[in-house]
Amino acid sequence: MVQDGSRDKWSLGLSGNSSQLTKYRVRSAWLFILPTLLVLCVVAGWPLLRTIWFSFTDASLSSLGEREFIGFDNFLFLLQDEDWWQSVSNTVVFAIASVTLETIFGLGIALLLHANFKGRSWVRTAVLIPWAIPTIVSAQMWRWMFNDIYGVINTILMKVGIISNPLAWTADPSLSMAAVIIVDVWKTTPFMALLILAGLQMLPQECFEAAKVDAIHPLRVFWRVTLPLLKPTIVVAVIFRTLDALRVFDLFYILTSGSTDTMSMSVFARQQLFDFQSVGLGSAASTLLFLMIGLTTIFFLKIGRSKSDQQEDA
């Protein structure tokens, strides 16, 4: 009976009652988010602020407590440090090369998985395996395959006749960059392929049927229909991957044997922090990386927004 009464009030839409309900729901919503927000403030917000604060001090690892404020000295030092700039350029080259290759291969694999043929699920399973293997493990597996004397890659390349002498994949700076890119492409193309595949499956089928009826060449359909329709999905995937590639650590740490010529920004920052114990300088490097990723994000958001505005105008 009581329930019926409340239902009547509800259906009559008594404004006082329903706004009370809204208030109750909003209040409990905040209560429900509060624990998550608190945890995020403690594990993300606070450490980030501390890192930024450290970057203006001369803190060292052995005596974190005794530090002095030194203004922008750490940043000025980094601006003149060749090793730092080397790590910046390594990171940027790595990000551009690996994301480009991953997008191309990911698109190819997505189209393959979108086609209807027997054994498609096998390909999908096989492709997921590199994604699931821990980065450290895949780095070690490839490091062994890249081994200059006993590595299987040199053996295969020499048998096929592409090279005549074994290459020092992990010692030579330019080769080790190639090695890092190869391993990253191997590991993260599946992610790209799955995202693009999901985008492909959401495209309206009518366009493709119409193209088929008009007997338009598949390649033309791909360039004129599939690719433009897929663009938003690809852009999102590229943003995710670029931001991820800029903070790369594991692959460089394992595959390049820690030489200063082949460090990523994250590796540089961690080396300053823990191997050289200069928390101030390392924090400054981390802060710069954070700023770089933040600016890249804003840049992507701006591009995305202005593009979608243009589309709305047209």
Binding site: F32, V42, P47, W144, M265, R270, I293
Partner: protein
Amino acid sequence: MQTKKQKFILYGGSFFVIVIALFPFYWAIVSSLKSGSDLFKTDFIPPSFAWQNYVDIFKEQPFGRNILNSLAVAFGTVTICLTLAISAAYALGRVSFKGRSLLLLTILSVSMFPQVAVLSGMFELIRTLNLYNNLFGLMFSYMVLTLPFTVWILTTFMKQLPKEIEEAAILDGASTWTICFKIFLPLLWPALVTTGLLAFIAAWNEFLFALTFTVESQARTVPVAIALMTGASEYELPWGKIMAASVVVTLPLIFLVLVFQRRIVSGLTAGAVKG
């Protein structure tokens, strides 16, 4: 109707993709089963099945302990993460209030943080809390990696639940707590499995924090143990054992992928495409 040429491209391409995707893992298995000087010959099939490497990693190294550490950290992270994320996702997905999209954006942007940007602050925090060289310290720090995307993905799943159920529950006077945990939670099981799996894999694979916040080999997780495995001398890496360890930690993941591949794919795409 597929022409011969199309078929050739499809099957040729598939074959190529499968070989590239699986060869490194196959090579790790082959290498792990070679002993002594066989390791340095590039035979594609091991001459004899030598299990010694597998025995050694558990005898000479605390690898069993490392696996237990990784399991504990990963399960702990997933449990804490899901508990927090369910209620947050309910609020963000089902209730409309001022500042909701800003909150979602902030949470998403945390998942874009480079780990190294919180490294020195986190190091200080973990030492202050006395969690250094401790599994709880790792679970604590992994929240920054797993919580944002868990909330994000669960929110998209929450939004998809039918409105009618919630309205009926409100009419019956159910509290928000009841709606979230008694009515929606049972419906969300598939989504929880998906997000839990992704968080588990993220925690199981994490390297930078685990490397920095542990010091003894007993406290290490699997990735750190594999990265820092050394042999008799510093320059002579025990490749056979490293490969054996790699195979041991990868097999369970491959098993998970085989069993849950649909769920993993739906989780990955729910997080990105709809966002």
